[in-house]
Amino acid sequence: MAEEKERTLRDWASIILPRVLRATFWGFIMGGELLIPLQLPSFGGQIESLFPQSQMSFTNVVLIFVVFEVAIQLLQGTVIRYAFSIARTIVSMVALFLATNGGVISITISSSAGVPLPPEQTIIFTVDFSAVLGIFLIFSLLTIVKNLLQAIDFLSQKAEEPVTIPEFP
């Protein structure tokens, strides 16, 4: 049996660097690109104003999603990846529920500078998409089930791999 070679810095770099690059790429694709316009006061302010003043802002929801995605990609090939996937789904469910106020969003437009409304008039728009949010949450629960099955599959695969028993000197 061949003796295991000790990994050099070059070996570690060849393992870590692709993961970091992949994590950066997927982090950008899975929400990172949204963070750039959200940081702009003109655009970000408008987007944030659409969401109710709840415990969770839209930027925070995106940020949490991106952090989890980066962690999942960095831990590719380990079972912790699935644990992070499940945690991301649960946190996203809670964050989405809080950010959208349970699927009911109200926007109040008052007569002020730049708004063509008569004085004292107020218009309140309320959108109730709780039914659609419910569907999203059900899909999220199914995603948790899928991640659990993937984790079990991963562990069973690992269990089936041949174990190299070190020889006694």
Binding site: T122, F125, T126, V127, F129, F136, L142, V145
Partner: protein, 271 residues
């Protein structure tokens, strides 16, 4: 774990991803379509308000047209109107409901607001003589694509009120004429503008008193003033007891009409 289970997990993953994308696409298109219909297509519009007065009740009929130019049906379209006094007290409320407006079709609903003019004017006498404004709260609620609920609450929309006897005044008193031992006649001139949406029709009554509170005589005049018109005229008073006429005193003015009922308009001094 065998290959079939791995394939099943992958299929479940794709099914979830595809379903989420479809649901998200539905959410985006329905919100976009609704916003386009309401804001750019002016899908919800209020037509010309029609008014009708009978038996002292003013009925305002407000037409609401919904032109559904979007991709999905609108259902359970409810309209609620609340008419309020300037201080916020509710005068009248009404509403209507359209069960379904299919995409590409137009529907109109009429909402009626009934105002008891006699009751209103007895409580708010200044509305007889002064233009004012009421507040209207409009509440629209509807379901879009049978999945999303929308509610638009337009609060404090101003509704102008035109006074039926705007600027009512006695403009002058003529010299006595047809003088006999038993009495004489005297003309009292008056004028006003009808700013209200209904015809001011009825009998104006004047009672003449001297400065010792003694009744001298009275006169009436029938008037008919359409909306938006001014009126100037006179009431001939028949003074029954010329010896009590002192040249000064006061006149009690009242008006009786089928729409407004009997109204004490007040007291005007003369002389």
């Amino acid at each position: 774990m065998n290959h079939e289970v791995k394939q099943s997990i992958r299929a479940l993953g794709w099914a979830i991803t595809l379903s989420m994308l479809l649901t998200f696409a539905f959410l985006v298109t329905s919100i976009y379509s609704m916003v386009q219909t309401i804001l750019e297509g002016r899908g919800i519009s209020i037509g010309e308000v029609q008014s009708d007065v009978s038996n002292g009740l003013l009925t305002l009929s407000i037409p609401l047209t919904v032109n559904n130019t979007g991709y999905y049906d609108i259902s359970n379209f409810n309209v609620t109107l609340v008419l309020k006094k300037p201080d916020g007290t509710v005068i009248s409320s009404g509403g209507t409901m359209l069960p379904v407006i299919k995409y590409g079709s137009t529907a109109t609903s009429w909402s009626n607001l009934t105002v008891d003019l006699r009751e209103l004017l007895s409580e708010m006498e200044y509305l007889l003589f002064n233009d004012s404004e009421f507040k209207l709260d409009m509440l629209f609620s509807f379901r879009y694509a049978y999945a999303l609920s929308f509610q638009v609450d337009a609060v404090n929309t101003t509704i102008p009120w035109g006074a039926p006897l705007y600027n009512f005044s006695l403009t002058g008193i003529g010299a006595p004429y047809n003088i006999t031992l038993t009495g004489f006649l005297i003309d009292v001139y008056f004028g006003f503008e009808n700013h209200s949406p209904f015809t001011v029709e009825g009998t104006l009554s004047l009672k003449f008193y001297n400065n010792a509170d003694e009744y001298l005589g009275s006169g009436t005049e029938t008037i008919n003033v359409p909306p938006g018109y001014g009126f100037t005229g006179s009431v001939t008073i028949e003074i029954e007891n010329p010896s009590k006429y002192t040249g000064s005193g006061y006149i009690e003015v009242s008006f009786e009409s089928p729409v407004l009922g009997f109204l004490e308009l007040g007291v005007v001094e003369y002389g």
